[in-house]
């Protein structure tokens, strides 16, 4: 047991800083156990009787030591148990298994120890009883022997005395026997002396005075002696009370001698001595038994301590690695994969700890890899995100509308241009059905195309998006491309919508420009011979009428008919010339539109341009109020001053024309900076009748005039100039009435 304790101590000493103390305590336990064992084994008490004071001192010293040891061990054990209980309460790792192991170990060790203690107790009791039982028997034996010896000696002496007296009396004559007996009796040594016949008759007798108490006893003794020469009654020779000796005097007579009565004093002394010795022994027996029992108890306790201790150490030895494993599991569960279990020794638990460490290191490695992978993934994700942002930015900056749909025709992405082309007030929520965003006609067009694209991979068409009403209708180029992947019919698609209105406007403007050029050419060419011919006719007639000798009718006076003819010719030729001039003006207007030169841009103040344009109308307002509202600090912009002046001249002209019928009202021209969009905004608004909804679309087309006069090129020229400056013009109805033309010009171009 001590060895295993040591082994356990050794096995746990690596992790226990207080191993020295444990060693010392273990050693003390071993020594004490050894002492007790030695006492028991060699029966030291037999050799070292505890009679002297120093022995008692030794006994007390050992008892005290045992007591102290008992307390110390109790304290340590208690402390260990309390600590364990606390650990259990705190639900510390390993405390449960430690408790359970402790309980098992203690239970297991208590069983044999208790059995041994019980057995030892019984054995000790028996031994002490046996040992103690022998002591008074010896004493009694000795006393009895001594008494027997004494009695025998006395009897022997009594018989010798009787024989001697008989011999002496025999020499005397029978008559003197009485006197002799009396003489003998008078010595005082004899209680009674008689001479009796064999038949028991008393021949002579002498008796000393005795207390009446003993008289009866004496008579009985004498009677016994008279009856038989050799009385068998043991009481007559037991040296107690009255003894009797008999000796033959003659053939027919006997001498009976009863000596002085024996007191019991000598034998009593011996017995009393023996009894006191016995009492002493009994007292000692209690002490020894007490000592033995306490030693046994202490030994049992020490054994229990030792076994408990061993149990604690064993449990701790088993529980410590389990505890550290449990703690390690907790750490690992908490995410600390760098935690390692350190277990001394090389048993299975150490193997388990090793496996655990390997596992955690593998986990750590895996986690490291995972983290590295996650970092790469994150980077890639970020790159993807950036790419997505980039694509989204690109998509949103496109003027082409892009809408992507999933296989259920739900919108997955829609760029800003698409939102504006489809005239949605805000981007639709993700997964909105495309059909819910469109009018029925537009839906039909798109759905047909999408179906075709899903079948053929791609479908394109130029169409009109009505966007709710005919007024909002715009020409668009629709291209639907099916996304790769899923099977046919379940593919997502990308719808690309190009707003062709500007392109068509430009194309129309270019066509008109071409038409204008051709018209200019085709009209002006025949105008030349007409003009020349008319002038020539007029000239020839004038020459002839003025008597020019070059003409026909030379030398003839002009008749009335001639004068009439000349007047008609002059009227006609001047009419022709005038109409040719009118046609030329008209054609020139066309030409101006057709051969609009490229803008010569320079840093120009829009306010100056507007002021100059307005100045041209100062004396032509006819009661109309022209109000300028110019933001004073707007920056210079790259503009062709002359062309831009023409824009505002045309717009003001247009506005004034709208008010001509009423000859009152007002026109306001304003400029301002839109810093957010970096745009200069010029507005010309009138308080006229406004623009009918149906006219908005055709407003900027060449040869469209609401006035029924003019060339119809004014607004077309305005739009062309504004467009060439990278800007935009739009018309809207003024509030409360009238029209408003808004020119937006970028600062940068």
């Amino acid at each position: 047991m001590a060895e295993s304790t040591e082994h356990q101590l050794e096995s746990t000493s690596h992790s226990r800083p207080r191993r020295a103390r444990a060693w010392v305590l273990g050693a003390i336990v071993v020594v004490l156990l050894g002492l007790i064992a030695a006492q028991g084994l060699f029966n030291l008490w037999a050799f070292v009787p505890v009679e002297t004071g120093s022995d008692t001192l030794l006994l007390y010293a050992i008892s005290t030591l045992n007591f102290v040891a008992f307390f110390v061990f109790s304290f340590i054990l208690l402390r260990t148990l309390v600590r364990l209980r606390r650990a259990r309460h705190a639900r510390q790792a390993g405390s449960r298994i430690q408790t359970r192991l402790l309980a098992y170990f203690i239970g297991l060790s208590l069983l044999p120890i208790t059995a041994m203690a019980a057995f030892s107790y019984l054995f000790l009791n028996r031994s002490v009883e046996k040992w103690m039982g022998r002591l008074p028997e010896n004493v009694v034996e000795r006393v009895r022997e001594q008494q027997r010896e004494i009695v025998e000696t006395q009897n022997h002496r009594l018989r010798e005395t009787a024989t001697l007296l008989a011999t002496a009396i025999r020499a005397k004559p029978q008559s003197e026997w009485q006197a002799t007996l009396d003489e003998l009796q008078s010595t005082g040594e004899v209680t009674a002396i008689e001479i009796v016949s064999n038949s028991g008759d008393v021949i002579a007798a002498a008796r000393s005075q005795i207390p009446s108490v003993n008289a009866l006893e004496l008579a009985r003794v004498l009677e016994a002696g008279r009856r038989s020469a050799n009385p068998t009654d043991g009481n007559l020779s037991d040296a107690k009370g009255f003894d009797l000796a008999s000796a033959a005097l003659t053939d027919s007579t006997r001498l009976i001698l009863v000596p002085r009565r024996f007191s019991d004093a000598d034998a009593n002394d011996i017995i009393a001595g023996s009894q006191s010795e016995y009492q002493h022994l009994v007292q000692r027996q209690r002490k020894v038994r007490l000592l033995g029992l306490s030693t046994l108890g202490l030994m049992t306790l020490l054994l229990i301590f030792a076994s408990t201790w061993v149990a604690i150490h064993l449990a701790r030895g088993l529980a410590a690695p389990i505890k550290s494993l449990a703690e390690a599991s907790k750490e690992v569960a908490r995410g600390n994969l760098s935690h390692r279990v350190t277990t001394p020794g090389n048993d299975e638990l150490a193997l388990l700890a090793d496996s655990f460490n390997q596992m955690t290191s593998q986990l750590e490695e895996n986690r490291r890899r995972l983290e590295a992978g996650a970092a790469i993934l994150k980077e890639k994700n970020q790159a993807l995100e950036e790419r997505r942002d980039y694509i989204e930015t690109v998509l949103n900056s496109l003027s082409t509308g892009v809408v992507s749909l999933d296989q259920n025709d739900c919108v997955t992405t829609m760029n800003a241009a698409a939102t504006s082309i489809l005239r949605l007030s805000e981007p639709p929520p993700e997964w909105a059905k495309l059909s819910s965003l469109l009018t029925q006609e537009d839906r039909a067009v798109l759905e047909r195309l999408i179906k075709r694209a899903r079948r053929a991979g791609r479908a394109a068409e130029q169409s009109q998006l009505t966007r709710g009403s005919a007024v909002n209708s715009i020409p668009v180029a629709l291209t639907v491309t099916a996304l790769g992947g899923a099977s046919r019919g379940e593919r997502g698609v990308v719808v690309v919508i190009d707003d062709l209105s500007e392109l068509l406007t430009a194309q129309r403007a270019a066509a008109w420009s071409e038409v204008a050029r051709r018209i200019a050419h085709e009209i002006k060419n025949p105008l030349t011979p007409i003009q020349l011919s008319a002038e020539r006719i007029a000239r020839q007639f004038g020459v002839r009428a003025n008597g020019d000798d070059n003409g026909p009718g030379n030398g003839h006076a002009m008749t009335t008919d001639d004068e009439e003819l000349q007047r008609v010719v002059e009227e006609c030729t001047s009419s022709i010339t005038r109409e040719v001039a009118g046609l030329k003006y008209l054609v020139d207007e066309f030409s101006r539109f057709a051969r609009m030169p490229d803008a010569q841009k320079s840093n120009t103040s829009l306010n100056d341009v507007v002021t100059q344009a307005a100045a041209l109308y100062e004396d032509r307002l006819n009661g109309v109020e022209l109000h300028l509202d110019l933001q004073p600090d707007i920056p210079l912009a790259m503009l062709d001053g002359e062309q831009m002046k023409r824009v505002f001249v045309n717009l003001i002209d247009n506005a004034l024309e709208a008010l001509t019928s009423s000859n009152e009202g007002h026109v306001s021209v304003s400029t301002k900076l839109d810093p957010q969009r970096e745009m200069l905004v010029g507005e010309v608004a009138d308080s006229g009748e406004g623009i009918p909804a149906a006219d908005f679309k055709r407003l900027f087309q060449p040869y469209f005039s609401t006035r029924g006069r003019g060339t119809g090129l004014g607004l077309a020229i305005v739009q062309r100039i504004v467009t060439e400056h990278g800007g935009k013009i739009r018309a809207e109805n003024n509030v409360p009435h009238g029209a408003r033309f808004v020119v937006e010009l970028p600062l940068s171009t």
């Binding site: 050029r517 200019a520 050419h521 002006k524 060419n525 025949p526 105008l527 030349t528 011979p529 007409i530 003009q531 020349l532 011919s533 002038e535 020539r536 000239r539 040719v580 030329k584 030409s591 057709a594 051969r595 030169p597």
Partner: protein, 123 residues
Amino acid sequence: MSESILIVDDERGIRESLTAVLRDEGFAPDAVASGEECLKAIGQRAYGCVLLDVWLPGISGLETLQQMREVNCDAAVVIISGHGNIETAVRATKLGAFDFIEKPLSIEKTVLTVRNALRQRSL
């Protein structure tokens, strides 16, 4: 001897009316309908002035002018155009055109320009 003038225009009406007007004014005008014919004509006869339309079938008026310069034709060239713009005028001037008159032509303007051109050439 009256000054010979070459009229180059694809419009028959213009050719005829101009020829008549210039003949009235005492010039000796010829008329052709294209640049190619013009180049051929100047090779056959020395003209004092050439009235050259810009828009011509085949080689254009300005190209014809350039080629005339290349063959060292010293006739004073007056460009006539129905849709004259500044660029054309500048180019024509750079190629040595004397003047630039716009259709529809008037007798007064045309005769004045032709006389100026001829006077200029004779200096």
